[in-house]
Symmetry: C2
Subunit: 343 residues, 2 copies
Amino acid sequence: MGDRTTIYDIAKRLNITAATVSRALSNNSKISKKTRELVFKTAEEMNYRQNKLALALKSGKSNNVGVIVPRIDRNIFSAVIRGIEENLHSEGYQVIICQSHDDEKLEIENIDALINAQVDGIIMSLTLETSEKNKAIKRIVKKGIPLIFFDRKKDIEGVSTVTINDFEGGYKATQHLIDQGCKEIAHLAGDFAIEIYEDRYKGYREALSDNGIEFREEFLIHTSSKVEDGQKATRALLKLKERPDAIFSASDFVALGAIQELRAQGIKIPQDFCVVGFSNEPFTKFMELSMSTIDQSPRDMGKIAANVFLEQVTNNDNVKIQKKVVLAPELLIRDSSSRLPIK
Amino acid sequence: MGDRTTIYDIAKRLNITAATVSRALSNNSKISKKTRELVFKTAEEMNYRQNKLALALKSGKSNNVGVIVPRIDRNIFSAVIRGIEENLHSEGYQVIICQSHDDEKLEIENIDALINAQVDGIIMSLTLETSEKNKAIKRIVKKGIPLIFFDRKKDIEGVSTVTINDFEGGYKATQHLIDQGCKEIAHLAGDFAIEIYEDRYKGYREALSDNGIEFREEFLIHTSSKVEDGQKATRALLKLKERPDAIFSASDFVALGAIQELRAQGIKIPQDFCVVGFSNEPFTKFMELSMSTIDQSPRDMGKIAANVFLEQVTNNDNVKIQKKVVLAPELLIRDSSSRLPIK
DNA sequence: CTGTTAGCGCGTTCAT
DNA sequence: ATGAACGCGCTAACAG
């Protein structure tokens, strides 16, 4: 039935010892060609498969890598995971996925479960940062488990990161709006407790400043990343005495809400108002009025994160590798902000 | 450093035996309250964590469940996985994800890797069916590993399935188009080697037949699920002497291509032409002209698949459970097919 | 109630 | 070139 054949079974059949079988299978150099071939043949016949669990217990390496994301059904995260899986699969690693749902308790729980499962590495996108969380992260580092942050980073000794340059993304988006002739650019921002949102904001500020445009408090609105929040914020902006003529949103979903509200109020895009989002969610391309946005090349991000892990785990020097890979964001100019007939 | 404390460590500290510690930790009834408490306290102090790998080797149960999907960055699949993870996490299981990329070799490879990793169950969406693949699937069943198909099913003895009623989906979509006054309904179909696509087609046929509408060969076009294929197919349809006045597409992406092509040719939707897709991809809701489609409630599908697994694995009777859960598809009527001012 | 022993399947010394 | 013995960390069977 469900009985596996072990190296003992094939040893018995061949009247040799399990150790020999083990060695033959691992292509140990000092095994006679004859027995090696015999072992391989018999293993094949008996449909032998190495028991990963035994190997893992013995070696302390599970050949599993844990990935923690807020939620998997968000394009950027599933795309990253796709990249990770693709580059890890070929190296014999399997990917365990965990969702934190932006809940700190859950995230810590996931971390401990992964440590406990003896994963060989952890690749994660942080949610919020708290002291409790930092302890959990320290636990990973202390155990010597390679840890890589992507997207939502944080500078921690011994932790590698793969991110895009969010500052540059914010800067590019804003500069582009300015180039389109917009003067009064509002920013729909995420929670500044999360670094990436703060960075996008800083990029926005810098671009304004570099162009001699004054920043206005009332043009900065914090939102969660829901469509409705974009509508609400936009409604608020349009009620101001001095209205903005463009929005740079740190989230595509919020930008979508903004566009919906603008159209509902009969405002012409991009003639009278320009909008740029962030993340290149798939739907942005498919909208009738396609949305300009910043692409984060999430799949590459995943592939690179996987490679950083592999380097780290392969590296037998005692020197700790700590890589900081920063990808360049790409501005995708689409209908929602292109007044000039480019594209 | 990375040294874990084991039950031996805490046994030594307490001058008792490891077995006692193990029993205390697992709340074995015949352990004195005193030692139990002592053990728990010391375990806490020494920051003990049960080694899952050792447990797995011992018990043969890894507490991992494998999930195989064609690709993870497709909304329906990531949504299913989200549901699976949510319902399995609380039961202490971890989810290993694999991508088949619709490549048979890769899929078989994944199956064997999962068996090999001693997963306690496998939840998967089949790609194509071949004899080679069937062997791999038989291997799973023979090992007694609970196996659950979702979305893309296949009737196999001992395998549970969680699907939506694709026939009904096809029927509903087509009937809806007829109700809108469409008479010449084309169908952009997927590969009939995959059951779900055949079922959607059958539903389409049945609806036509039930309404006394004759089926036309030239109105059936097979496509892959790419946007461009929808454009191409639509271009072909519009070249026919007798043009269709509606399209039911088995894929949202193909339906999108159709809409793009129709608009490019200046055809008014939904006045002159109606379109219904399938899957409720997120972008369908966000299009300027939102697209009617069939919702598959993928997250529920995942949750149910997880529950079926849990039932199966909990079930200690020797009776094999084999469940067939069929969810009802929901027709979402949106702009691309609603001529009546509903909604 | 607790200790002793054994074994899950594998790789790895230490012998030979 | 191969065998014997051991241990990874844990639980379970069998004492007592």
